[in-house]
């Protein structure tokens, strides 16, 4: 029976379509209280006076907690620059100062308004160039004392710094036929998962139980333990359906507040962010400035690259120190960069902190690299696609860290596939139409996972894992089908538990497209053991040699004797009176590829394992009256290793492209001089709606990854990576002007049209 590769409906489809699926926001517990967080109204300053007395006497209030009665350990994912509550310095607008638990949410919110605070306000630092200046006021006075890895090379407001240098880059740049220099700017992008962040926490017998809709329950456990100053075993994190995450629900969020309130009231406390609060305070994709100089020979060969990146961490580092490594990989892929220097600095500002969003910094670094390719082509007078093919990586070429890309020639195939669908020389022609192309190499996150499998007494399979179903289908389709395939069962006969850190082995969360690849492999490891247990019981039951037993389509029998087959359920029942229940566990982590450990300083993210390859093409039309862009066609060629479920793969590519389209055309959290976002509602933020998104034309490549289950590589994260570049290149082509800022707003398009007419008055627009 072939299950992997086939179309099967997802396991949670029916409960979701009927509204029965419970998300954290739907949970109710007896005696439950409702929480709310009092946050700083200003972005920078010092608290002079805090008065909670009126709020404490407000109806329904059970407890108000401030820094003086909460744990005050410094904590953080990489740098210990966070605290549950601030008692003095304010580093961003929205920084938590107190938390309230009340009988109802309305009472909690009413009490919130009665908290009085006096702040000695100072001007927030929001500009990256200002913040990075060594003479700038420190965002964190005590930065030197924060726990952090040595190799971050922190100094003043710089919280992470990665430097790579081949040497002599300036010399080669100066000697090249052409030097193309551009600056690219990217704004912040909000994940805008449809379920705002929430948590319900309770405290009994010295342990916390924390209910979440989170992509990474074990990270919640471990980060909470540090924040609360307790053992991780004193925390149980229970996962529920997740209303979207896209990286925004990987790090610790508002869980500590629910925990401190639950402990102090002795009641379960539910804390759900409003959309406005979620938007204003949660870590979003960072804004950044990329300066790029490229040396090119007359024949189009790139011989030198100098990339300098400044990323905005906001007021806390979060995972951004890791992200400073991404430019190293993308500066030298998918195109050879010649002699190269890459520097990336991550900088504190008085703004809400930034963090992971699908594709992370890859989205805008790819934008810079691919926009630069178009600008190079224009300067040297070469066809844009030809320039790319000339510099493309091939089998055996290396990333700048020395890691060999053994199968990079897949990129050639991907370019050819796109060409077969949308011929370059005839696509995007016509007035105010344009075509753009962009390619990318991406990784599959290697972090560890595990699976426990049991053969149930009715012949179904139980799968216990802390892998999370964030909506992608990685669990509800991918893992379910991989597990079913191992025993020839129907996917419906595989029952998957919700994540629970007390029950399942460690799992590194739904990030970097890792779940199907890594946990799928763990399932295969567990299956080897479970099969051998089944076979030894079956051998006894069937009075045959273990070597002669086969498992076929959910049945066990003697090989070659179909009449001997009995259902798996009878083996599970028999096992109870023999060796005992049939349970097995498997673990997996992708081995790290070889790389040059001395290649760079500050490299926290050292390799790109389990590679995927991507070529995207966009055809657009621009409205010269409004500056609006319509994406007419969007084509994706993507290497996926092996399709597990075609609907799942398609949904990830279609959805990833939609988010990329929003990123490049509409979405932006503008930071005001007050350190707050100008967009305060979803409407102002402008997410893509159905009418904005074309049906993506998808062409898949399936070169199996040798380590992946059935050859699977990661699928879900990278479809967003080249989208901004492909679409911006298409618009630039349509109007004849460079567009080097994300998002490309209608006003930028109109300015571009005007600029192009001034520069090339004879060009037909």
């Amino acid at each position: 029976m072939k299950i992997v590769g086939e179309k099967y409906a997802r396991s949670d489809g029916v409960v979701k379509v009927r509204g029965e699926a419970l998300y954290t926001t739907d949970l109710q517990f007896p005696g439950m209280l409702f929480g709310a967080i009092f946050r700083s109204p200003v972005a920078a300053g010092r608290i002079l006076h805090l008065d909670i007395s009126a709020a404490e006497n407000s109806p329904g209030v059970h407890k108000i907690i401030t820094a003086s009665d909460a744990p005050r350990h410094r904590h953080g994912l990489v740098v210990d620059d966070e605290q549950i509550f601030t008692s003095s310095d304010i580093t961003y607008a929205g920084e938590p100062i107190a938390a309230i638990a009340a009988t109802s949410l309305a009472e909690a919110l009413a009490a919130l308004k009665k908290i009085r605070i006096e702040i000695d306000e100072i001007t927030p630092i929001v500009d990256l160039h200002e913040a990075i200046d060594p003479k700038c006021r420190l965002i964190h006075q005590g930065w030197k004392d924060f726990g952090a890895p040595e190799e971050l090379f922190r100094s003043n407001n710089i919280v992470g710094q990665m430097v790579y240098d081949d040497g002599d880059v300036d010399k080669i740049l100066n000697g090249s036929d052409f030097v193309i220099e551009n600056e690219f700017v990217a704004g912040r992008q909000y994940q805008a998962y449809m379920e705002p962040k929430g948590v319900v926490a309770s405290y009994e017998n010295g342990r916390f139980t924390v209910h979440v809709s989170h992509q990474f329950p074990f990270n919640v456990r471990d980060r909470l333990a540090k924040a609360l100053g307790i053992k991780s075993s004193a925390i149980r994190v229970v996962g529920h359906h997740i209303g979207g995450g896209f990286g925004g629900k990987l790090d610790l969020g508002i869980e500590p507040f629910a925990c401190v309130l639950a402990k102090s009231t002795g009641r379960p406390v539910k804390l759900i962010q409003s959309r406005a609060e979620d938007m204003a305070t949660c870590p979003v994709r960072e804004n950044a400035i990329i300066h790029l100089r490229t040396g090119v020979n007359r024949d189009g060969q790139i011989i030198a690259t100098d990339m300098d990146v400044i990323m905005d961490a906001g007021a806390a580092a979060g995972d951004t120190p890791y992200l400073s490594s991404i430019p190293l990989f993308l500066a030298g892929a998918p195109y050879k960069s010649g002699r190269t220097r890459v520097r990336c600095r991550v900088v504190y500002t008085n703004t809400p902190s930034t963090g992971a969003f699908r594709g992370v910094s890859g989205t805008y670094i790819n934008f810079a690299v691919e926009r630069q390719m178009d600008e190079i082509a224009k300067v040297i007078g070469m066809d844009r696609r030809q320039l790319r093919l000339k510099n493309l990586l091939h089998d055996g070429d290396c990333f700048l860290n020395g890691q060999v890309l053994s199968d990079a020639s897949i990129l050639d195939e991907a370019f050819a596939l796109v060409e077969s669908r949308a011929p370059w020389t005839t696509t995007g022609k016509g007035k105010l139409r344009g075509v753009g192309i962009a390619a990318a190499v991406w990784l599959t996150n290697p972090l560890p996972g595990s699976a426990t499998m049991k053969l149930n007494e009715d012949g179904t399979l139980g799968l216990i894992t802390a892998a999370t179903e964030n909506g992608s289908g990685a669990v509800a389709m991918g893992l379910r089908q991989i597990a079913a395939q191992e025993f020839g069962l129907e996917p419906d006969d595989v029952l998957i538990s919700m994540p629970d850190t007390d029950v399942a082995g460690y799992d590194a969360g739904s990030q970097g497209s890792r779940t199907t690849h890594v946990v799928g492999r763990a399932i295969q490891e567990a299956s080897i053991e479970l099969r051998s247990k089944i076979i030894s019981v079956a051998a006894e039951v069937l009075e045959a040699l273990p070597g002669d037993i086969e498992i076929v389509d959910g049945q066990v029998g003697v090989a070659g004797v179909p009449a001997s087959r009995i259902p798996l359920s009878s083996i599970a029942i028999a096992a109870k009176s023999m060796a005992g229940p049939l349970v097995a566990t498997g673990s997996y982590r992708t081995p790290a590829p070889e790389y040059n450990h001395q290649c760079a300083t500050g490299l926290l993210f050292t390799t790109f394992p389990t590679l995927t390859y991507h070529v995207h093409l966009a055809e657009v039309e621009v409205d010269p009256a409004t500056g609006n862009t319509t994406v007419l066609r969007y084509i994706v060629a993507q290497e996926v290793g092996k399709v597990v479920n075609p609907d799942g793969v398609r949904g990830q590519i279609q959805g990833g492209v939609a988010q990329g389209l929003g990123y490049v055309l509409y979405e932006n959290l503008d930071i005001g001089t007050d350190g707050k976002y100008r967009q305060k509602t979803l409407e102002a933020y402008r997410l893509p709606i159905a009418g904005d998104i074309p049906e993506v034309e998808i062409m898949l490549l399936e070169h199996p990854d040798l380590a992946g289950p059935h050859g699977v590589r990661g699928v879900a994260e990278p479809p967003i990576v080249p989208v901004a570049a492909a679409i911006a290149n298409a618009i630039s082509d349509a109007i004849g002007a460079p567009l080097n800022t994300i998002p490309v707003r209608p006003i930028d398009v109109l300015d571009g049209i005007r600029w192009a007419q001034e520069v090339h008055p004879d060009r037909q627009v």
């Binding site: 029916v14 379509v17 699926a21 998962y193 449809m194 979207g244 959309r275 964030n470 949904g651 279609q654």
Partner: protein
């Protein structure tokens, strides 16, 4: 203040504070959590229910404005857990569901659409969905599900 309305065919008489949203009444007072809150500002459509057969954002609808109205929520679409509606089946089959948080709202809007227009075009579907945001799917498989539903009715 008293509020009488029909919810999913059942007559309800409730004590509701003035200014309370219909969404709050449904979720917190009647325990109908299938209707979701994505923004509480009328911007995402996750809270869509039918009021006298027409889709509305229940988060910005004052409960008292629904006095004597007939409200239909996701809980009664389809006959039973084993028999979802044709549209629901098609959404599951097409892969038009990912995280599922937007899904009840889409089902309500599209159920209403199919009632007045049994075979909507692509443009008509997109028009009907202008107030519903799905961050996961990129919409294509949702639209396909509507077209598939229309086909089964022919």
């Amino acid at each position: 203040m008293k509020l009488s309305l029909t919810v999913n065919g059942r007559q309800e008489s409730l004590d509701v504070e003035v200014g309370t949203s219909l969404l709050h009444v449904l979720r917190e007072q009647l325990g109908l959590t299938g209707t979701k809150e994505g923004c509480a500002e009328g911007e995402c459509g996750a809270c869509t229910v039918l009021r006298d057969g027409k889709p509305i954002d229940s988060c910005i609808m004052a409960a008292h404005a629904c006095e004597q109205s007939e409200i239909t929520t996701i809980e009664v679409i389809g006959d039973s857990p084993d028999h979802p509606s044709e549209l629901q089946n098609c959404l599951v089959e097409s892969g038009g569901i990912q995280c599922g948080f937007c899904t009840p709202g889409f089902v309500m809007v599209l159920t209403a659409l199919l009632k007045v227009n049994a075979a909507p075009t692509d443009a008509e579907i997109k028009h009907a969905l202008a107030g519903n945001i799905c961050r996961c799917t990129g919409y294509a498989q949702i639209i396909e599900a509507v077209i598939a539903t229309a086909k089964t009715h022919q």
